[in-house]
């Protein structure tokens, strides 16, 4: 019969999917589990200033790849500003210019860093002519005096640098150090001065500035250290003589005495940097792309896509599994829910809102919508305008919920905006028709059933292992398809029917 075609098709799909899956796991050694969260960091720099009604320029250093850090993605968000970049001896610099700027201005610069294990050997320092600092007069004299002091005591370049930093960082520095550092000397000024003094002595040294990649900081302060070329390698040293070792979390951003950001044609410039750990597996996937040798288009099709598209497929590829679960819950278990795929779409929204908030928000919005929809019955509106009115009510309820939860500082409530409003509208409409025709009990029963199915779908679809498997092995879709085909010809009882038809189970064996 027709069943045989279905069985053969299902077997073919399942075999093809499993064969490719096995090949990738056994021969290409694709990992079966998602592994640790990747060491990725999202950095956002915000420059604000008051423009002086004329041309304005913001100059910002752009970080570059090192052996430890890879810049994955960078973008400027600055309306009306034109971007050019320039290579300076201290690093690559972005120029954001605008011909006419007035009032408060904001420029965002965002980038994503991936950190890998730092190599054991220090980076190679290519010999380069040493640029003496542009100091004159008293400062030059002071620098020379300092240089004489450290020369006498130290031998190697690093030893000299260590001694210099100790003198500069002393709680009671001598006159020479004080005249170079000025009154308020932070670490930034200190390493700049140290690099200058060393350069004056013919030692290849530079000050490096960056940020510490640490979780949970509200506003990030810059960190500064010194790099000294010795025996063809860069040796690193902090401005703190008690802890000279540069931590592995310090990310180098720019070098030299220039500030990170400068503003021309504006006043009150302000700089704010935020750092956040980005749990973003897709990025590492794309990184490992060129490392993998045996991977071709068939086996690593997903990794060849741009990052944002990968993000989309990360979600899309688990939807079929949610739908399979829905088929099982409906056709094998016998649960009732609104709409065929509505619970899966609600489950997708739960991914953004988190489960508890998702259930609360869904219930509140549907309850509000239902109350208004049931009252609307007395207005006797025609169907399409009525649906439109319910949709507007749903959107309004979403907005009110967002505003209310923002007032009370409940960030979870803000995510209500991610609910599919059309799905909510149709849920309200169908629930109200059932309420009118079959009574509140049936309506509540199906509403709770839908929410229950959505919750189970969410728990399955948001599992990291499931997400990893379906993203790394999209061929598993064939297996899901095979399962759905087989379920399509399942003619046995649903679990709920066993109880419904229980009275008929007596008699003949």
């Amino acid at each position: 019969m027709k069943n045989r075609t279905v069985y053969v098709l299902a077997a073919l799909f399942a075999a093809a999917g499993l064969a490719l899956f096995a090949y990738k796991v056994l021969a290409l050694e694709f990992p079966l589990s998602p592994g640790d969260t990747p060491d990725n960091w999202a950095v956002e720099t915000r420059v604000t200033f008051q423009a002086a009604d004329g041309p304005a320029t913001v100059r910002l250093f752009i970080p570059r790849n090192t052996r430890t850090y890879t810049i994955l993605d960078q973008s400027f968000v600055s309306r009306g500003y034109a971007l050019t970049t320039e290579l300076t001896p201290d690093g690559r610099m972005a120029h954001l210019t605008r011909r006419q700027a007035k009032g408060p201005q904001t420029v965002y610069f965002r980038f994503l860093i991936h950190r890998s294990e730092p190599p054991a050997t220090p980076p190679v320092a290519d010999p380069a002519p040493v640029q003496p600092p542009p100091w004159k007069g008293l400062r030059l004299v002071a620098a020379r005096a300092l240089l004489d002091q450290i020369r006498g005591e130290g031998k190697t370049a690093t030893d000299m640098a260590a001694t210099l930093i100790k003198r500069l960082a002393a709680t009671d520095p001598d006159d020479a150090a004080r005249s170079l550092l000025g009154k308020t000397a932070g670490a930034e000024r200190l390493v700049d001065v140290a690099a200058g003094v060393l350069a004056l002595g013919g030692i290849q040294a530079r000050s490096v500035h960056g940020i510490a990649l640490v979780e949970g900081q509200k506003t990030v302060h810059t960190v500064h250290w010194l790099e000294i070329a010795e025996a063809g390698a860069w040796q690193r040293m902090t401005a703190d003589p008690t802890a000279p070792q540069v931590p592995a979390t310090w990310f180098p951003w720019w070098r030299g005495t220039t500030k990170l950001a400068q503003v021309d044609g504006g006043s009150h410039p302000k700089l704010r940097i935020t750092v956040e750990r980005a749990a973003d597996q897709a990025i590492v996937d794309s990184l490992s792309q060129d490392q993998a040798q045996a991977k071709n288009l068939l086996t690593s099709a997903m990794a060849s896509l741009p990052l944002e598209v990968q993000q989309v497929y990360r979600v899309l590829l688990v939807v079929p599994l949610g739908v399979l679960l829905l088929v099982i819950l409906r056709n094998v278990i016998g649960l009732k829910s609104f709409g065929t795929f509505m619970p899966v779409l609600i489950a997708l929204a739960f991914r953004e809102t988190q489960l508890l908030w998702g259930i609360v928000l869904f219930t509140v919005i549907v309850a509000i919508g239902l109350a208004i929809r049931l009252w609307m019955e007395s207005l006797r509106l025609l169907v399409v305008p009525r649906l439109a009115a319910v949709l507007i009510v749903v959107v309004g309820a979403m907005a009110v919920l967002s505003i209310a939860s923002a007032q009370f500082g409940l960030t979870g409530g803000l995510s209500v905006a991610l609910f599919p409003m059309v799905i909510l509208t149709m849920t309200v409409e169908r629930m109200s028709v059932i309420w009118d025709e079959r009574g509140p009990r049936d309506a509540m029963q199906q509403g709770i059933g839908s929410l229950f199915v959505a919750t189970i779908c969410y728990l399955l679809m948001s599992h990291p292992l499931v997400e990893h498997l379906f993203f790394q092995f999209p061929e598993l879709l064939l297996v899901v398809l095979a399962a759905v085909l087989l379920l399509g010809r399942y003619s046995g009882y649903r679990l709920t029917e066993l109880y419904r038809f229980k009275p008929l189970a007596g008699g003949g064996r």
Partner: protein, 327 residues
């Protein structure tokens, strides 16, 4: 395991589940192109009329919103009538008007509906509120059945109907659906109506099922619902046997009512008849369907004529002793 055992016993008794009905009967024996004949009550009404099966006389059809104002003219000469969506399912959207109350209409449930509310209801029907998939629909206004006095004690308001499952023209199983107070006069089991199985040979009611529970007396009136002789049983069986020739749907249900003046009248056909009929009869559909299937394979010519189909049903589908569950 208890569940596995339950599953096996149900299967052995030939009980049909929703998946089984859909996968093995509805999808296999019913061609999709014939579905509109049963999904649209206006079409099935015309087919039945052409074949000589009585149907409730049609007073009028409203298809477009601007025609709603013709409603008053349609019902002008009728004290009572029924308004129903042509493609409604599960009895939703059906209004039974039993009389007038000034400018308003008195409904079967006892409530009064204003003319305004009636127009709103018809507009809702046209917009597809009650139709499958929500597509635009037509509103039918037709004769209200005055049911046969035989049902007096066992039907609370509303019209009791008789459903017969038909497989390639052979009546398979039958039940009568009796409205209750809870079902507000409607004959739909999921709305709280009673279903009573019918002995195919004699036309007498067997046990009854209410909310998937077996009962023997009407919950509102207390009258016994078992052992009632359905009048015109022969004609009902003949109508059922001929319904296959109207629609060419191998597996379908036919819903009929007994009008005190017109006798058996066909209300509608159904390509996906519900499965509670099995509980009402205390018997699964599967064994009977299998018997017909074998007969159709071995000797299809013996089931070609209406008389032969009815005779086959009466000969083979007497209730099993176990179907008579002691009260």
């Amino acid at each position: 395991m208890e569940i596995v055992d339950l599953y096996r016993r149900l299967r052995a008794n030939g009980v049909l589940g929703l998946n089984g009905r859909n996968a093995d009967y509805q999808l296999v024996h019913n061609q999709r192109k014939f579905f509109p004949l049963v999904d649209d009550k206006l079409k099935s009404k015309r087919l039945a009329e052409a074949a000589g099966i009585a149907v409730p006389p049609l007073f009028g059809v409203i298809e477009y919103p601007h025609e709603v104002r013709t409603f008053d003219a349609i019902v002008q000469n009728h004290e009572d009538f029924v308004v129903k969506p042509a493609e409604g399912s599960g009895g939703d959207g059906i209004l039974v008007v039993v009389g007038r109350d000034g400018a308003g209409f008195r409904l079967a449930g006892g409530t009064v509906m204003s003319a305004d509310e009636m127009r709103f209801h018809i507009n809702n029907i046209l917009a597809g509120t009650f139709s499958l998939g929500g597509q635009p629909d037509k509103a039918l206004i037709e004769y209200r059945i005055r049911f046969d006095p035989v049902f007096k004690g066992i039907a609370f308001q509303g019209v009791p109907d008789i459903r017969i499952i038909v497989f390639y023209g052979v009546p398979v199983m039958a039940m009568t659906r009796l409205p209750t107070q809870e079902s507000s006069g409607k004959a739909n089991l999921h709305q709280g109506a009673i279903g009573a199985g019918i002995d195919m040979t004699t036309g007498r009611t067997l046990n009854a099922v209410w909310h998937d529970r077996i009962i023997t007396a009407h919950p509102d009136t207390g009258a016994p619902v078992s052992g009632v002789q359905i009048p015109h049983w022969e004609i009902l069986l003949h109508h059922a046997a001929r319904s296959f020739d109207l629609t060419h749907l191998g597996y379908q249900g036919i819903d009929m009512v007994l009008d005190s003046e017109r006798g058996p009248v066909m209300l509608e056909l159904n390509a996906r008849p519900g499965l509670s009929i099995q509980i009402a009869n205390g018997e699964g559909l599967g064994l009977r369907l299998g018997l017909i299937d074998r007969q159709l394979r071995d000797a299809p010519e013996t089931l070609a004529e209406t008389e032969e189909r009815v005779a086959f049903a009466k000969a083979h589908f007497a209730p099993r002793p176990s179907a008579q569950i002691p009260a």
